[in-house]
């Protein structure tokens, strides 16, 4: 099946999933500007790394499966690797910020545990 032969419902579904996923990612990026403190801002990009990523990947897998006429699950690997690796990045960022704030004694520094 080529792109032009894609049934209308499928085209709508693929586009809707991709656009909603992109909207979540955009909202996450917007959060980087709108939220005030560092610890609040770190929450924002996870929108793009979780639901935004999942919806875009589902849309991509649906499109490829329909075009190639078989189940294409390759993109799910992107989701797996992204999900497993994101915590490492965020953990490093949060620990570095916590260390800096405690060292400088700023008021928003996290409590000692």
């Amino acid at each position: 099946m080529s792109g032009a032969e894609l049934p209308l419902w499928a085209a709508w579904l693929v586009v809707a999933l991709a656009v909603v996923g992109a909207a979540f990612s955009l909202t996450g990026a917007l959060g980087l500007i709108r939220l005030r403190t560092f610890y609040e801002r770190v929450h924002a990009p996870t929108l793009g790394a979780t639901l935004g990523m999942a919806l875009i990947l589902i849309s991509s897998m649906l499109l490829l499966s329909l075009l190639e006429g078989r189940l294409v699950l390759r993109d799910a690997l992107i989701g797996v690797f992204l999900t497993v690796s994101t915590p490492v990045t965020l953990l490093l960022l949060a620990r570095a910020a916590a260390h800096r704030d405690r060292h400088e004694g700023t008021p928003e520094a996290p409590p000692e545990i």
Binding site: F24, T27, G28, L30, G31, R34, L35, T37, Y39, E40, V42, H43, A44, T46, L47, T50, L51, G52, R70, V72, L73, R74, A76, L77, T83, V84, T86, P87, L90, L91, A94, R95, A98, P110, P111, I113
Partner: protein, 162 residues
């Protein structure tokens, strides 16, 4: 079994990854997948990683459904906070959670779950005291977050990785 396949889960994961990357499956790619799945864990043995023991697959499946639901719900919650659609005052804050879970794989999965649900940020874990420091975007006060993490995620994880 343990001499030939020291890490059966790793073998299955590697073979599946190989097959997914090289779909559609042909006899040649299946043979290569088997080869990768058997040879790579043999190399891993030099690093001596701890073997993972997964018990209670039913609990694991139930946990996956709970996490999927929480992931979608917290994504919508955080999006509403960012877009300013939420009324009322919002406070952020740090929550200290004393964890009973000590199994390294369980802690790892917990960190993936808490990162996968926006609104909770894993700041620090102290393996001496077993205390976890979280930053939450929607701080409700009291120990509501502590109970939520312990009841929803920690208890099933302790059943799965024991």
């Amino acid at each position: 079994m343990s001499r030939f396949l020291p890490y059966p889960l790793l073998t299955v994961a590697l073979a599946l990854t190989w097959l997914l990357l090289n779909a559609p499956i042909t006899p040649g790619s299946a043979a290569l997948a088997l080869l990768v799945g058997v040879s790579v864990p043999a190399v891993m043995r030099a690093l001596q990683p701890r073997a993972v023991l997964v018990r209670a697959p039913g609990t694991l499946a139930r946990l996956a459904v709970v996490v999927l639901y929480d992931m979608v719900r917290s994504n919508v919650d955080v999006a509403r906070i960012i877009l300013g659609l939420r009324r009322g005052e919002r406070r952020t804050g740090f929550v200290t959670i004393p964890l009973d879970l000590r199994e390294p794989f369980g802690i790892t999965v917990l960190s993936i779950i808490l990162t996968g649900t926006p609104g909770t940020l894993w700041v620090q874990y102290d393996s001496q005291t077993g205390c976890l420091l979280l930053h939450v975007l929607d701080y409700t006060g009291g120990d509501e977050w502590v109970r939520r993490v312990k009841d929803r995620y920690e208890r099933p994880l302790m059943e799965v990785f024991a």
